[in-house]
Amino acid sequence: MQNTESIAPSTRPISLSLLLMMAVVIHLPLLLMKLPLKSYDANFHIFFASHYVHHWFDPWNAKWYAGFSQTTYPPLPQQWVALLSWILGLDMAYMAVQLVAILLLVVGVYRFSLLWVSPRAASIAALASVFLGSESFLVYSAGQLGTTTAAPIYLIGLPFLYEWVRYGNWKSFLKASVLLVAAAAAHHATLLFGSFLFAVPVLALTYFDRRNGERISISAFLGRSVAIAGVVCAGIAVVLLPFWIALIHNPVTQTPIPHPSRANYILNPIWGLNYFVVPYGALILALPFIFMRGALVARLRPLLIGFWVAFMVGLGGTTPVGHLLLGRAFGVLTMERFSYWATLLALPFVGLLAVELVDRFKLRAVIGLTTLAACTCALAVGWSTYRPADASSFKVDSVADWLNRDGHDQYRYITLGFGNKISRLAIMTNAGSVDGEWNSGRTLPELNLYGAGALTSSKYFGKPGLDALRAMLTHADNYGLKWVLVRDPYYDPLLSFAGWRQVDSLEDKTIAVWSKDGVPPAMPVNAPQMPPKWQGLMWGILPFGSSILAILVLLIPGKRERKYLEERHSITEVTPMQERMAS
């Protein structure tokens, strides 16, 4: 019997459930392998979450920097990790939250793309998000839970913003407001810069899109835009009030710390590979299409401009754009998140391109696109192994045990040569440290003056790093800093000449414990940065509450919204030829 089914590609969109299943198939095994634990920041987020596990309503964390406030970082994904850790444990809770973020991205990209392109192209864009190099790079190499959680929430909220401004639908107003506030509770930089890169193109679209041949009136456009901006700003101001108070009282004035994402990718090709080739992958091949189609189709131009700005800033020091647009923030932010946002903004174009290629080349296009997507995803996932954040693999259990016994935790400690294992150690030990991995949270002058990151990696920051280390060791008595745990003999001469003695060794003598005589026990620091109780209560209730509210409002039926979307579909599948004919 012969199979008479057509092998022509379907012209229907891929169903959302199939897209979500694809995301699960690709990412669940990687997350079950706990691959993100090898990334730069995953342990940092888990450390923050571990604090929320025990002190949900007290954001003052005494384990780093002799005490710092966790209100300096929006808490939403970390609080979800803390909550789920009661069932799954911290590590698996992190993986669970990360998986949800990946699934939300599929939904977010689909909904966002629907604003710009046909449902079929939008579904392919959402499929591409599963294989997106920048997403895998941020999840498995950078460990940026906040960024990868906030962006999808933002993307899910933006179509509601469109519907509110374009049609004045109050349900959409409510949903957009709550989702945008929840996104801010997940990550502050996404809020600040995402507003311009994502929301402004969408607002431009609402203005330029015609309904029955007519644009929205300027008064309605401005009124609705201002109304939702006001409500969202007020919501964010309240939900993240302790964050703003911390930021106003302690603005980030410390000397900027060099970061390779701000390097010139041509003069430093290895960083170009790391921050451009890996995150973009096969998307680089689509750049000419994005420029051409984005410029030729009028309604895609706002999206093109948003993409181009994010793309240029994401190039770091390769162009002067980042420095010109961001000013001092350029020295504080890392640029890979801009590349991430650029790739998200590029996905509707990718969907369009894929549809046209499949329509033209059929199975050959499907094979080619699948291969490119797989290679992009594989490179970004594999990058965490080829170029791991922390090349040395060692356990810190014995160090934590040592610190926790015989009253050693009455004093503070620092590590040298531990890389980003210091977060893992901080989770496991009761002792406090004067070091840490959250640079914006530190207030000790010894750490802020020199333009270096964590003390544990001092030597990699050259003179500034070593100056900071010497300054901290000089003032060891002031902070009750008695222990230095050394996994890199590079630092031995300094410790020896500065009056420290090796008193023990751990992990088969690969880790030396150095001590200083006469150091008084660590005293709690009553820093002015310590948030009062009411701020702790707000911090424990409002950001998390905003996410619960977002889930609830999304359950409100939205028949009219679907109608709006259907209406929109009739104007989204526009090729340059059609547009020319229409005009």
Binding site: K463, A476, D477, P493, Q502
Partner: protein
Amino acid sequence: MKKGTMIALLLGVLTIVLVVAGTLWPGASAVVYAGQRTLLSSSSTPEAAVRNLGEEIRRQAWQEAYSNFANKAQFTESDFVHDMTGTYPGLLTYATLDKFDVLPLHATADDAQIRLKLYWATVVGTSITTRDLHIVKNGDHWEAEWPIVKQARVPPQVIPVNYLRWDVIYRGSGDDWGDQDVEAPHVRIVDMHPVERADGVIIMGELLNEDVVPAYVSVTATLMSKTQVPMATESSFDKISHLLLPKQVTPFLIKFPNRTLSDVGSVRMTPTSALVSASADPVIEIDNEHLNPSPAASLTGQLTNQSGRVVNVAHVLGTFYDKSGQLVWVADEYINTPLLSQIPVPFEIHIPEDLAGKVSSERAVIATFSIGGSQ
């Protein structure tokens, strides 16, 4: 041309222009990683050639630097790397070049003399090395002749060690000694002078181990206001020799930045000591000590390691006295080359110009660090 095509073209050209601008004139953030090197870098002048060499050393691009030398036939790339970082592990082995100065000394149409001053970021502070380079013209560009310094090799030999050594048995966790433990050695501050300098108050003095056992010592000073309220507390950090054998004396210097002596009512000194295992080995002999007068007053001399063990880092502390034997100043220098057995290494400790006239005698103390065991 259509509007859309214009926009695409404009964005494309703008992108290329901005990338080219960022690459030819990299911003501060890019310079941190790329150095002063740009695609326009060339060796069209003697200074540019030396600047490129400095950048290559900063990036530890040894092969690139070596390939650009005019006299590379006289030594291997390995010799050059050892000249820069040392054959034996020392301060410069793991140091990074923080910055460099290029100082033209002399130039003609075909050659030039340029001083390259290298500022190394070492774990104990900045270490400066200077090389005078002969630059020669080769076609349309200039090349440096590297003045290679090959480190001396120690011949195979047996050196008997018969210096004193003290071992300590501490109270173990299972020992029934109650709270009793070995007593801390008796140490005493024998001299102490607070002085005010441009950068704040400085406390200097000398500490004596008056016990018959070795002591691991440190000194902490607290400035008290005129109402006897503590103003600031600082410690001697590395401006002291922490290990004192019996009857040994070490100078110490404690800095209080941004403080004025007029605010200080008194100073509370707290010396601490702990009994430690120690050995008199390695013994470092100081030869040819000489006080050089102003300008550029300094104490110079040579260190000779009398032991067989390599001293990877040596720290020379100089104590300077006036005619009446009063302490005038304490200064120090880290030696950036390892001390090999019997091979003298020069040292030079600078004395502030305003104090140089008062100095009439000095005493030098050596602290050492050897990989696998510090002293």
